[in-house]
Amino acid sequence: MKKEALFAIFLGIAFGGVLGLFLISKNKELQLNANKVIAPTGTDLRSPSQNDNNFQQLDISQPNDGAIVSQDSVTIKGSTTPNSLIVIQSPVKDMVFNNDKVQFQVDFPLVLGENVIKVTTYPKNKDLNVQEKAFKVYYLQEQL
């Protein structure tokens, strides 16, 4: 076979490949444009309560769930939506206070053994949901 013929075959394969790739990509684009959009793309899909700029998920940073302590009180640190009524309850004590900031920190008494503590926040803005978190702290005197 002549050199010219081989060159022509090679050029033909290369051109065919490029044309094929172009057609596939164009076809995909056409299909995407033809499809209907089911979900709105530009809008926020979160619930109305979470769309509030002040919304802050209730988070307890301290103590950890299942923490063992050797003192009869523990510092509870956390964050929530500002201007919330915070209720901290346990079998030994209930604590109610208004928190106008995001962060909160309180010292909370413990009894010997297991302490189930529940934190509930009632935001001032009625559109925002009530949030709650429960955790356990163990006040045990016999430790390593």
Partner: protein, 244 residues
């Protein structure tokens, strides 16, 4: 002529490489010889500074071990499903099973009585009781340092959906749609949040209204039926607070 010069330079290069190799091996054997001839007396009789360094190292290792043990030391509480001389099986509130491994020499047993704890024996721990195991947890096994008999509590909150003034019962729906019937007993501490001062004030049963938010605690006895609990204390957040 050029060829001869090229051959000479290549011969020089080979000789140079061979010399480098010889020098390298010589230095290696000398250093090897030095390590072999080192006097063993210096390692066998440590000086005072060496022994203090060893002591420091021992202390550091001990501290590290202690720290790791403390970090791994955790507590798990649950209802006893089985007791033997070597282990106690428990089921936690979320229905997970754990095996508490007991050590005759290490594990201690206590009963929590209010603000004090009393040392007890393994035989005092019965099936159906509630215990806290403290120790190193490995997956679903706890190598227990101590086991405590304790009282489990229900601590929850919700909205009052019904007030039964005849039977002194309150129906409560929690955020996860659990429905509780709370029985108000003579000993139940009934309190309400003052919406102006946020102070907690004592109230009577007549002040409790459907729609109020309620926070409650009750002892879990294990004999409860239909989610009915005799509550120790309740705290009401009146609905008027949210209308301010």
């Amino acid at each position: 002529m050029k060829k001869i010069l090229k051959r000479e330079s290549s011969i020089k290069l080979v000789v140079f490489i061979v010399l480098l190799c010889v020098l390298y091996f010589m230095s290696y054997t000398v250093s090897f010889g030095q390590t072999v001839t080192a006097t063993p007396s210096s390692t066998l009789s440590p000086s005072a500074s060496d022994s203090s360094a060893i002591e420091q190292l021992k202390e550091k290792v001990a501290n590290k071990v202690e720290q790791i043990r403390k970090e791994n030391n955790r507590a798990i509480a649950g209802t006893v499903t089985d007791v033997s001389s070597a282990s106690i099986s428990i089921t936690t509130a979320d229905k997970t099973g754990y095996e508490i491994k007991l050590d005759d020499a290490l594990t201690k047993y206590y009963q929590i009585l209010g603000t004090t704890e009393k040392e007890i024996k393994l035989q005092d721990i019965k099936k159906g009781g509630y215990v806290i195991a403290e120790g190193v947890i490995n997956d679903k096994t706890i190598a227990a340092n101590a086991v405590y008999i304790d009282q489990p509590y229900l601590v929850d909150s919700g909205k009052i959906s019904e007030v039964d003034k005849e039977n002194y019962d309150i129906k409560v729906v929690t955020s996860d749609k659990t429905v509780y019937t709370l029985s108000i007993e003579n000993y139940t501490k009934q309190e309400m949040v003052n919406i102006k001062t946020l102070a907690i004030e004592r109230i009577g049963f007549s002040k409790i209204i459907q729609g109020d938010s309620i926070h409650f605690t009750a002892k879990i006895t294990g004999n409860e039926k239909d989610n009915t609990y005799s509550v120790d204390k309740i705290l009401i957040v009146p609905q008027e607070y949210f209308m301010k």
